[in-house]
Symmetry: C2
DNA sequence: AGAGATCAAGTAAACGTTTACTTGATTTAT
DNA sequence: ATAAATCAAGTAAACGTTTACTTGATCTCT
């Protein structure tokens, strides 16, 4: 790749003039301008972001750290963030920690070395230590989906408590009294909130509900739902409904039910959480609590970019609404 | 973030010594070394990749350009590439062109500005023009999955022809004679190869087969399969089997069949292509032609990195084997 | 003991930009 | 007509590294 110096020589001007043409900073006479443009075209010149970033002390790059990219919810989120950032002429460095604290830590290091202007992070939650270097460095940060106590940063969540509450109410209103909850213990704050919402619905309803929780920490969630459901559904007193704390888990559950020749929703109701695209195309379609995934990404990106222009440091927590999507996988239990 | 100069001052040595400690290049006496280490720890110093890249004329960054990240096949591929690169201490700049030539072009520009050391690309195929700047710049490149005529670069494919051939033979051996093929026309080279494999199986079999192709170019593939299947399955003479050229399409097809109260594989056989994780968990599980997605990513990354160390420029084309995964969605047709 | 070799550590140039400052020509005002 | 103001374009410093080259002390050998 050519350099500015070479362009300057080809156009027979100084490098300052070339820079001014590129960035439209300062007046350049028309004839010089065309000479510079022609030289750039001829040399297929594109300015070095490297040199520019070094000089400007700004990289226009944002670190995006996700716990697990091979999961529809997170890949959609990352994708939404990248898209929003790109539209504002920022790059995204998308990384997957794979629920591994060490990997997370090493990506944080990488962000610092790359001198990213900010980060959007969904913490693994393995340890709040891993993100501390970013805080100490004063790197602007937005946390999405999961939160970490002791970090006062911008945050974007969906309303997990109210979402789970709605979902549970739906099951209770259908008449279910024996219900299992299957979730993941991986960094459990949003999971805890969902359990909290479930508890609230139970408390409100009162009485005679038999409920059991199964929290596992397998990484492959299809399988996790499958394995747990197999176990739960082959016992003596099986539940009439299962609340899966993630859609991918629900898919695994439905698969297990099919294998056991149980028909959904006739023999078993299943409700999920997230509303990944697949949920509208599973068989049967999945009743679920929709998170506004795309919007979460957009809001997170917006919040971060806004914090760049703000001169005072403000910390915001934005909670987005969830929505119950009633589809085919839930019905009243057989009596 | 502190700079090397500040570390040098804190340790009371020259910046050259600091650099030598960091990179373990050249002998530094033990006492100086600990002083430098302590200074770095105290200042939480991490070297600037920016400055280092500028000076070294190497960024250890690879551009990864994918046509559509919100698709399991591609996101898995991107993920595999990132993982392989990271293990070799290279960063990945993952971008999704969303099957849009302009977006692809603008990411190519970004790669050049960022001075990436190489690229791994699955072209949208909208125009070979978009990738030309990379070629002209001499950026090392590996193409995966889709190919572009006129580009002599390293390539990694799976054997689409043979895969589709195997898939089609499977259907024919089961006794299907009326078969529909549903695929996407989006950059169609791999799709064409799959059709070629299908044709070969037909030719070999001879005679009485009724086959129809439906190639669409919708971006949301679940819906595409759904819409097309709805149309195909409600006609007078419906096929007894559908070959979906991608698993995501097959999912949509199965959903349409369910809505039409057709049982799979009893009333309709469906076979897919790709073997995304979901295929083992759909109901019924999906017979499909497996591409070694993860391996494709690893091989592509390896090929690129190898080309860095090679002094002579060689061009390799690696074709990986596909494998027929027979699951529940295919059976002999009712007679 | 003294010359040459060895080598630890420092100095400074270079990577490719941006931009404050300088320069010298042209315009404006008296 | 001349001094001041304006302004287009150029010069050079700075961003934070790496590394060729320099320096000066210590070691080795006769």
């Amino acid at each position: 790749m050519a350099t500015m110096k070479q362009v300057a020589k080809a156009a027979n001007v100084s490098i300052a003039t070339v820079s001014r043409v590129i960035n439209k900073t300062g007046y350049v006479s028309p004839d010089l301008e065309v000479r510079v443009q022609e030289a750039m075209d001829k040399l297929a010149y594109l300015p070095s972001s490297l040199a520019r970033s070094l000089r400007m002390q700004e990289t226009r790059t944002i670190g995006v750290l996700i716990p697990q990219l091979n999961q529809p919810f997170f890949s959609t989120l990352a994708f939404a963030i990248e898209k929003s950032l790109f539209a504002q002429d920022y790059r995204a460095l998308i990384c997957s920690a794979e629920e591994d604290g060490d990997k997370e830590r090493s990506y944080v290091d990488m962000f610092l070395r790359q001198r990213v202007d900010g980060v959007v992070v969904v913490p693994t939650g393995h340890s709040s230590q891993t993100l501390l270097p970013l805080m100490n460095n004063g790197t602007p940060m937005v946390m999405v989906d999961r939160y970490l106590k002791g970090f006062t940063v911008n945050q974007v969540f969906s309303d997990n408590v109210s979402g789970a509450y709605q979902g549970m109410r739906h099951l209770l209103e259908l008449g279910h009294r024996r219900i299992s909850v299957i979730g993941t213990s991986h960094y459990s704050e949003p999971m805890n909130d969902r359990l909290k919402g479930i508890d609230r619905a139970l408390a409100e309803h009162g009485g005679d509900i038999v409920i059991e929780h199964f929290m596992s920490d397998t990484l492959q969630h299809f399988e996790m739902g499958y394995d747990t459901a197999k176990q739960v559904l082959t016992r003596d007193s099986r539940p009439t409904a299962i609340f899966a704390l993630m859609d991918v888990i629900a898919i695994g559950i439905m698969h297990a039910a099919a294998e056991l020749h149980m028909s959904i929703p006739h023999d078993l109701s299943v409700i999920g959480f997230d509303d990944i695209p697949l949920s509208s195309f599973s068989i049967p379609t999945l009743t679920t609590v929709a998170q506004p995934i795309y919007e979460m990404g957009e809001v997170a990106a917006g919040l971060l970019l806004k914090s760049f222009s703000d001169d005072v440091v403000t910390v915001e927590t934005i909670t987005l609404d969830t929505q119950l999507m009633i589809r085919q996988s839930t019905a009243s239990p057989q009596t």
